[in-house]
């Protein structure tokens, strides 16, 4: 029987899609140039001309928030996709092959888990130097172990399924079994992890940019806009509030979407929830 869609999940998916559309179309949507300095208009509150007000140099905050959102989404999507591809490849190989390869990959993953996410990302930026490419590389590397663990755990379960054993007995090649039987059956947990990782990647990018180690000026980023607003919080509340709200809305949407997808795509958890509701 088809389950009715959870309205919160549908709404979250709508917000994520809207954020992607805004990110893609930011170049056309911005009402002003992101670096158009207009000092006489500095620190103006939200108005018809400047919906999100202006900053200390008279730049339009809305234009900068939209462009910052584009940068955040680009970093988050590219780095999570890279992490998902590399992590899944490692996790599936380790889980399916087993033996020493599994041990080595999982110990490397354990070592990487011993470093807090932001610290590891900062150490990578310290080595490679700040910038957009480095931020993407740092966040990708940091999130590889999470995908490797999820992919390995799911592969271990699928590997023991009768249809995989039958396929192996028939002499089917490993690559074909992985592509045809393993990968399609582990996509659920991976999609859930992708959505949750997107949320954390946006937060990580914002934190790195806040510290001056992420996206570099004059390119606006939401984290750096909040950093720059610190001296003007009492004079111009709109300077920290709008970039912060943009981060919270998109991260909240990704988190709620991840939770909703987990209910739909992770049958074990769904069964447990339904069993509990019935009891």
């Amino acid at each position: 029987m088809k389950r009715p869609a959870n309205p919160v999940t549908v709404l979250s998916a709508g917000v994520v899609v809207a954020a992607v559309v805004v990110a893609v179309g930011a170049g056309w949507l911005v009402p002003y140039g992101i670096n158009d300095v207009d000092v006489p208009q500095a620190l103006r509150p939200p108005s018809g001309a400047h919906w999100f007000g202006t900053d200390e140099l008279g730049r339009d905050v809305l234009s900068r928030v939209l462009t910052g959102l584009q940068a955040s989404m680009t970093v988050a999507v590219v780095s999570v996709v890279c992490a998902a591809v590399v992590g899944t490849a490692l996790g599936v190989t380790a889980g399916y092959r087993g033996g020493w390869l599994d041990t080595v990959v999982m110990r490397v993953v354990d070592v990487m888990f011993a470093f807090p996410v932001l610290l590891l990302a900062m150490a990578i930026v310290a080595v490679l130097g700040p910038g957009l490419g480095t931020t993407i590389a740092a966040i990708s590397i940091v999130y590889v172990p999470i995908f490797a663990r999820v992919a390995r755990a799911s592969t271990l379960a699928v590997r023991e399924e009768p249809y995989v054993a039958v396929s192996r007995t028939l002499g089917t090649g490993t690559a074909y079994i992985v592509a045809r039987h393993v990968l399609p059956n582990i996509t659920g947990p991976l999609i859930v992890q992708t959505s949750l990782s997107l949320a954390f990647a946006i937060l990580s990018e914002a934190a790195l940019s806040f510290l001056g180690l992420g996206i570099q000026p004059p390119q606006p980023s939401l984290g750096r806009m909040i950093f720059d607003s610190q001296g003007f919080v009492t004079l111009a509340w709109w300077m920290p509030v709008f970039p912060g709200v943009a981060i919270v809305v998109i991260v909240l949407a990704c988190n709620l979407l991840g939770d909703g997808l987990r209910d739909v795509l992770d049958p074990k958890q769904r069964t447990m929830i339904e069993a509990r509701r019935r009891s």
């Binding site: 110990r107 070592v111 610290l119 937060l203 934190a207 806040f210 509340w237 920290p240 509990r276």
Partner: protein, 316 residues
């Protein structure tokens, strides 16, 4: 006997991970583009000074030999000297550690004070409006950037109301009242974000235990709901709650970088931030190593406590 075997296995596992951590931290300095000796010398560069420092720091030796000597030095607490001011890295780290530990402890205590009642209440009212409010609030808390929350708290409690200092630090044992005034806002920032994460875990841990047969039996015996919740549910849910508390404490110890920067809190996180800006690699290496070791140690302690509390863990 079983517990000893469990401890030995868990300790061995931590050692293996520690060796991996050491390799990664050692590699960090060797992955830096450019020559670290030239970076260290800066404007004081002369060919003679370059050769002397290169020899003194052992960088003219083969990599495996360098790693072995790095291990030896690390084991004796010799983590090199800071490029910036020549201070021993171990001493710099020792000076910064108390500030980070005190902030992390305040943060985790505040998180527990909020998360335990909120999670238990939400679980015991599952599906009702109050449960929904707690869940939405905790999701909201998880989605807030900690540095943004910190700035908003400063603007409200320091700049607008003038109740608390905007930033800074006083050592706990020199000036307890000053320490308390300075730790409240950064502690709240760290604690509220951690509370949001922990509330979700407390709620699901309590719900999981509530579905157990013995809880149903206790209810069907006619025990009042409060007694069932406190005596049968919460007591058994404490094991997973202990785990998430440990993980959160370890995460806070290494993850308070941005909060320390916002509040000018002189801990390990702010040290890493300043050292990255100054490209002070020995200090970055030392701080990263210390934080990773703290993370491993807290996880080890949690696992051991877990095994002591729940015999099923050490028997599995």
């Amino acid at each position: 006997m079983t517990i000893l075997r469990f401890l030995a296995r868990r300790l061995l596992y931590s050692l293996v991970v520690l060796v991996g951590v050491l390799i990664l931290v050692f590699a960090l300095a060797h992955l830096v583009p450019g020559d670290p000796v030239r970076i260290a010398l800066g404007t004081r560069y002369t060919p003679e000074a370059y050769d002397a420092l290169r020899h003194a720091s052992g960088l003219d030796r083969p990599l495996p030999a360098q790693f072995v000597s790095y291990l030896g030095h690390a084991a004796t607490g010799n983590l090199g000297v800071s490029f910036r001011n020549g201070d021993p890295v171990a001493q710099v780290l020792a000076e910064r550690l108390p500030a980070t530990v005190s902030l992390a402890v305040v943060g985790i205590v505040l998180a527990l004070v909020v998360a335990l009642p909120a999670g238990i209440y939400a679980a015991s009212h599952e599906g009702r409006l109050s449960d929904l409010i707690v869940r939405v609030t905790s999701q909201f808390g998880v989605s807030i950037p900690d540095f943004w929350l910190g700035i908003l708290l400063i603007s409200l409690f320091s700049t607008t109301l003038g109740w608390l200092p905007t930033s800074g630090y006083r050592p706990l044992f020199d000036d307890p009242a000053g320490w308390l005034r300075h730790v409240i806002l950064p502690g709240l920032t760290v604690g509220l974000v951690a509370a949001a994460i922990m509330t979700r875990y407390v709620r699901s841990a309590v719900l999981e235990v509530s579905a157990m047969g013995y809880v149903r039996t206790a209810r069907s015996k006619g025990l009042p709901p409060r007694v069932v919740t406190l005596r049968h549910v919460v007591r058994n849910a404490l094991v997973p709650i202990l785990t998430i508390t440990g993980i959160q404490l370890a995460t806070i110890l290494g993850g308070v970088i941005v909060v320390e920067v916002v509040f000018a809190w002189p801990g390990l996180g702010r040290l890493v931030y300043l050292s990255v800006a100054a490209r002070d690699y020995p200090v970055i290496q030392g701080a990263v190593l210390l934080i990773a070791v703290l993370f491993l140690a807290v996880n080890l302690v949690v696992d051991v406590l877990y095994a002591l509390v729940d015999p099923r863990i050490r028997l599995s």
